[in-house]
């Protein structure tokens, strides 16, 4: 299994309050961001936080349950299109309703897909998730009179907590919307942290490490995997819903399988063996891609090379490297 690649050194359990040492400054930085950096940067950060929510959900399956999904674009895109449909067909403009709608859409999709996919593992699981997400993509593509086809569907700025957005769209996105996303991000991080540290989270890790033994201590593998799959889909769906108004458009680009590959990429970049790895990786990847796209038309070459180097030289990602460094520093003291 992918998680057996490099066993980390024994880590003693760290008390929670020790983590606050770096959580608080980061939280302060995130809160202060729109006041100190320019709107474009803030928007990039917003995209990064949204990607982080998606990656956090994705990693529940990969890092904690040991299942590599190549079809998570289905949930991201599902959430985005749910918002777009609510705008177009139900004339809704409330962000809260958008979130509710995307949760419903993701729940339905993930239960359906998950029911089918969790009967398999490893390559077949990956192939099945890819195939199913491509079904969705091709439907969005072909039923263009419903979905807007390649042109996509417009998503205007929504009301946040009942308050209408101000006229200056850029300023709205870089301030009010940013804080909204930040708040949802914080809630998602908290919920996911609770889940992975719960008895359920431990059971998932047991399934990841040793499926047979997990069964022989009384854990019903398929059921737990399905629940993990659904939770994962819900988180990624929320990310898609937050993304749609920011992007202004829901298009098939976020349903195609290569987008699923990007979700995998950012998670591996940050390090899928830690809790914060996907968050770090998602934000790093967002910045990387934004600057790559702005820097050269051959940004895929750049990102592809990063991935190749990552796989060859740094399989545990950024957080893996950080952990190795800090443990080396601790030994030196």
């Amino acid at each position: 299994m992918i998680v057996n690649a490099t066993a980390p050194a024994a880590l003693p359990a760290r008390p929670v309050w020790r983590s606050l040492v770096w959580i608080i400054p980061i939280a302060l930085l995130l809160i202060a961001a729109p006041l100190v950096i320019d709107p474009f940067q803030t928007l990039t950060l917003t995209y990064g936080l949204i990607a982080a929510i998606g990656a956090l959900g994705f990693n529940l399956l990969l890092g904690y349950t040991g299942l590599l999904s190549f079809g998570h674009s289905a949930f991201f895109g599902g959430g985005a299109y749910a918002v777009a449909f609510m705008v177009k067909y139900l004339k809704i403009a409330s962000m809260e309703l958008f979130l509710a709608g995307s949760l419903l859409a993701s729940a339905i999709l993930s239960v359906l897909f998950g029911f089918v996919c969790v009967r398999y593992t490893r390559i077949f699981f990956g192939i099945l998730t890819l195939a199913l997400s491509q079904v969705l993509w091709s439907l969005a593509f072909k039923f263009f009179w419903v979905t807007g086809g390649t042109d996509g569907l417009r998503v205007p700025t929504p009301t946040l907590l009942g308050m209408s957005p101000r006229d200056d769209k850029m300023a709205f996105l870089a301030h009010e919307y940013y804080y909204y996303v930040l708040a949802v991000f914080a809630v998602c991080v908290f919920i996911m942290w609770l889940i992975v540290h719960s008895p359920f989270g431990k059971a998932l890790q047991a399934i990841r490490d040793n499926e047979t033994r997990a069964e022989f201590i009384g854990i019903r593998i398929r059921r737990y995997r399905l629940v993990a799959f659904v939770i994962s889909g819900l988180f990624t769906g929320v990310a898609g819903a937050l993304w749609a108004p920011l992007n202004g458009l829901a298009s098939p680009d976020v349903l195609v399988w290569t987008f699923s590959g990007e979700i995998v990429f950012m998670t591996v970049l940050g390090g899928f063996r830690t809790f914060v790895g996907p968050i770090v990786g998602a934000i790093a990847f967002t910045y990387l891609k934004t600057y790559a796209v702005g820097f050269t038309v051959y940004w895929q070459l750049l990102l592809g090379t990063v991935l190749v180097v990552l796989v060859l030289a740094l399989p545990t990602g950024i957080m893996g490297a950080v952990e190795r460094l800090t443990s080396k520093m601790k030994k030196l003291r």
Binding site: V3, N4, A7, P8, A9, A10, L11, P12, A13, L194, I195, H197, S198, P199, F200, G201, K202, A203, Q205, A206, R208, D209, N210, T212, R213, A214, E215, F216, I217, G218, I219, R220, Y224, V227
Partner: protein
């Protein structure tokens, strides 16, 4: 009193009759050794009873229940647990987590996803108690993948023990362990088991251990039960000594006349 019986239990892999219509019986409260040469069908029998394999025919009765149609998960709930010959641990979790998991599962707490696992002091107290009894509490925070082989074997048994089963199958609990470490492992295992009132079936190849720790021995050969009796009866059984234990070039039983065994 019979805790477990199998009735004409059989399974074949292609042409190979791995378990050939076996009537196997385990009495409540005993320590039973299941021995036989490689390929005799011992592990397959345990796999059938624990639910890893489905039999081609036959029945498994546990207590008064026919557990044959039950899945492995249900059999655990019924009270059958097992350890594994090739160590089967949760390598990336700490030793404490490895033991806590079966306890959470047994208590029905595994599905809880809105509470912190670390907050459940009842589970952790019991976890540390189990670790202490198995001599593993100094490893509590270490990852299971990083401890020594002997300790991994102990942990493997500890995980099964933590389920508080009525019937515990130990598949070669001392294999791959140096001779020096074997006796301490078995001492821990037998003391824990006796004080817990658990019935134990041990698959073993090491005859010293078999004769020292078991009250009853069942010998398997080519998928069937060859002999069933106390250690003295088995030692005196010529069919067993020739097929299983082998003979010296001089024609004497390789194991000797029993004077080496300690009780």
């Amino acid at each position: 009193m019979d805790l477990l019986t199998t009735k004409t239990l059989a399974i074949s892999f292609g042409d190979n009759r791995a378990v050939n219509g076996v009537d196997f019986r385990v009495n409540s409260g005993e320590v039973l050794a299941l021995i036989g040469s490689n390929g005799a069908g011992k592990t397959t029998l345990v796999n059938l009873i624990s639910g890893l394999l489905k039999p081609d025919s036959g029945q498994i009765i546990f207590g008064t229940q026919d557990v044959t149609p039950q899945s492995s998960y249900q059999r655990i709930k019924s009270g059958i647990a097992r350890s594994f010959q090739l160590v089967n641990l949760f390598d990336h979790l700490s030793c404490a987590d490895n033991v806590a998991l079966p306890i959470f599962s047994r208590e029905g707490k595994s599905p809880k996803l809105a509470t912190l696992a670390s907050r459940d002091s009842a589970v952790w107290d019991e976890t540390h108690e189990v670790l202490r009894r198995f001599g593993l509490d100094h490893n509590a925070t270490l990852l299971a993948g990083t401890i020594s082989h002997g300790e991994r074997k102990l942990l493997d048994v500890a995980i099964a023990y933590a389920l508080r089963p009525k019937l515990l199958f130990l598949d070669e609990p001392t294999s791959g362990v140096s001779t020096r470490e074997k006796a301490p492992i078995m001492d821990i295992v037998s003391s824990i088991v006796r004080s817990g009132g658990i019935t134990v079936v041990i698959i073993e190849h090491d005859m010293d251990i078999v004769f020292r720790y078991s009250e009853r021995i069942v010998v398997m050969h080519q998928g069937s039960i060859l002999a069933d009796g106390t250690p003295e009866e088995i030692r005196a059984n010529d069919a067993v000594t020739t097929t299983l234990i082998g003979t010296h070039p001089t024609g004497e039983p390789a194991f000797g006349d029993g004077s080496n065994a300690k009780h």
